[in-house]
Symmetry: C2
Subunit: 459 residues, 2 copies
């Protein structure tokens, strides 16, 4: 095999973005040869190829690079142009091609780069945008089981990076696997000659770098800790996540959900800062979708044009009746969306939720139905409104309300389940979205009830 030839190939392959072939070609090379082969390449080119190597291969190659070359490589991974090469990949390709980086590389990468550089490099880590891996920081203190307390305290004094995270000390074994967490107070209270292993209880909570960040929020709420350790697939300690970052995450997630519930895309920028054209675009998308869906109401109303012409009085109650369905639907969907975000409701609860909403929807519908019935009757008696068949009209509106509110509650509560089941964000079932859905079906319910009750009189 001629290395020179291969170098030219690699360059061409990177230019052609032919990542699969790069993986295929390099897979069986001994790491030491591959390290040599990559030597003459530019740091950027090297970073791209390095990132494509299988995990074990990458660990091997990295260990054969000179320390200086290692740093160059890691720095290159924080460059926008390098990151962009991988950003162009489809998410599916990314998952199948980019394996988790070796723990040693991740640790050094996190330590070497500034927070801003880390944001760029995090894309190369291959962790999904809303994963714990994107939140990791390297500011943790780790000690080894065989150390004495005195040695450990001395180590902490010297290498303890950031005071924030000093409350937890992480214990690793000889293969860098996380085996326990300790409190700084335990060390302060112990005899200096005791061993770290004397303090260990092997009970600890850790996150995986691939965990969803919502899982991190959950764990923090359960654990009451200020920081949680993060491990890779093989339980090697690679970073920590601190609770103040989680606070930001929780707020961001809530903001996204609220924006969606309000019926627009999440702005992803503060309201006062986002440019108006960009905001209009984010809002217009949903508004247009809703508008086009709502056009079905015109079609539905068109079907009943004949009935309306015969009994104009029916059209008077259309906004009242259909908006009640929309309101009950948006209540139900919002409650479920939030309960799902907080982990209170999961997919398997759909049947229990449906039963609850059946009862709630029926009660709420009955309440509104009675009010609607009374309103029409009182107006008819007081002002002589709505003609001679006011009683039948009141019955129509009353019964239609029961059906529509029940239907609104059921569809509003089930829509988040359907969306989540389909792998979509439940928050997409926004109040306006549900209202629009229920409007169309509400019209059909209303005019069907009218047809049944008013046949032979008004209709």
């Amino acid at each position: 095999m001629n290395p020179t030839l291969k170098i030219i190939d690699l360059k061409a392959l990177v230019s052609a973005r032919d990542f699969n072939t790069i993986r295929e070609e390099t897979k069986n090379w001994p790491p030491v040869d591959l390290a040599e082969l990559m030597e003459p390449l530019s740091a950027e080119m090297e970073a791209v190829i390095f990132r494509l190597l299988p995990r074990d291969q990458a660990a091997g190659v990295f260990s054969y690079l000179s320390e200086e070359r290692q740093k160059e490589l890691l720095k290159a991974m924080a460059r926008e142009d390098v990151a962009n090469i991988f950003n162009a990949m489809s998410p599916d390709d990314r998952t199948s091609i980019l394996e988790e980086l070796p723990a040693t590389v991740i640790q050094q990468l996190l330590s070497l780069l500034s927070t801003e550089e880390r944001a760029v490099a995090s894309q190369l880590l291959g962790y999904a945008e809303d994963s714990v891996g994107r939140l990791m920081t390297p500011d943790f203190v780790r000690v080894r089981t065989e150390w004495t307390i005195a040695y450990a305290l001395d180590h902490i004094r010297r290498y303890g990076k950031d005071s924030e995270t000093m409350s937890s000390i992480y214990v690793i074994d000889e293969s860098n696997k996380l085996v326990d967490d300790l409190r700084i107070r335990q060390l302060l209270l112990a005899q200096p000659t005791d061993l770290i292993s004397d303090l260990m209880d092997f009970r600890f909570v850790a996150l995986k770098a691939t965990d969803n960040r919502e899982k991190a929020v959950e764990e923090f709420k359960l654990s009451d800790l200020n920081a949680l350790p993060v491990t890779d697939a093989e339980d090697t300690l690679i970073g920590i996540v601190t609770v103040d970052d989680i606070l930001d995450v929780a707020e961001e997630e809530a903001t996204e959900d609220i924006h969606k519930i309000g019926g627009s895309e999440a702005l992803d920028e503060p309201y006062m800062k986002i440019g108006i054209p960009k905001m209009v675009q984010k809002r217009a998308t949903w508004l247009v979708i809703l508008f086009i869906s709502e056009m079905l109401t015109a079609t539905a109303m068109g079907q009943f044009e004949h009935e309306i012409a015969k009994a104009v009085v029916l059209s008077i109650f259309v906004p009242l009746v259909i908006s009640s369905g929309g309101n009950s639907g948006s209540q139900a969907s919002t409650l479920i969306i939030r309960a799902m975000a907080l982990g209170e409701v999961t997919l398997k609860d759909w049947w229990r939720v449906m039963r609850r909403e059946f009862l709630s929807g029926l009660s709420l519908g009955a309440i509104l139905g009675v009010i609607g019935f009374v309103r029409i009757s009182v107006w008819a008696k007081l002002f002589g409104s709505y003609g001679e068949h006011w009683f039948l009209l009141a019955l129509t509106v009353g019964f239609a309300l029961v059906g529509i509110v029940l239907w609104g509650s059921l569809s509003g509560s089930m829509l988040p389940f359907i969306l989540r089941r389909a792998g979509l964000d439940p928050a997409t079932s926004s109040a306006p979205f549900v209202a629009t859905l229920v409007d169309v079906s509400g019209l059909i319910i209303y005019f069907s009830v009218a047809a049944a009750i008013l046949k032979g009189t008004l209709l």
Copy 2:
């Protein structure tokens, strides 16, 4: 003055809930005499009277009680029946009568009671429900300026309560005022013979017990600390708030807002746990308010009954046109509600928001207007729908949409400002609430545009 007489008076006054007279009567007593006077009273009776004393008076009386009696008194303050006496007070009375307790009492109260007891006692602290005072814990370490590092570390070893909060150490002066915060690492790194004062920089962030808890969330997001100290009105350190409690607060606040945006009262309990009758009640309140407001649409439609009878085709587009106003309004209100909750938008920004929404609303209205115009024109050409005056009808719907979407955006964005200005929660301007408001005005806009454009043809 005859003490025996006074005791009978006090008992009667407590029974009569005549708190003002108790304050009046005890105000000028020397603390030592008052302590003696309260000696024969039951602990509950004593707790009630004690809580009514002015701050200085209370501090004096407390210092004259025996240690055992102090404990009894503090324990009594965690009793439901004692707490309920004060719960019956109106919030206004509570603010005017209940002064902040003396710092020594607060500290002992927090330390003595369990978390559950503290929840009861917190009502007696007189801090508002959503204040920092309700979140305080006593698990902090304080050191004095004149101590040596060795002495301070020894003190921490002995009295450091909870490891969670060990990362910050608070420095107090001789009058117990908070003067600085230190990191445990600073102590570990310093020479044992150094003084605490050598490490001080007098720069620290503290919360007041009376601060709103949303302020605490803000401060934590800014400070990146795991705990913040809490002081009373006189800067005396009385407790700390930890970030994991703030995480819960942030999530709770977001949940409340989301429930309100969805158009119901905040449930204040997990969806799956709350009883159905209670949930129906919380949802029915708003649903009924919205329903009754929406009845105005029936009145508005009634006004246009004549026009509808002449041009039934107009009624066909009613749901489409008014729902667009509701959707744009709920987008706008939700964005502003969240921006307010995050502190991105404050009351004084109303004019800037109005200008942004004017531009956004006009653009969004124009987009929907064009789509609506095209839809009607295409249907007319393809299916011959909407009769001979389809062009004028399309114009009517198009122009009405511009006006209604603009109006929806403006009123949706301004409503949260109006609510906050009136001292109400901006989140009350829920998506369904805004939609209901805009529905009524939307009808008027629609039929007015119709009257202007269709006069002499359809109308």
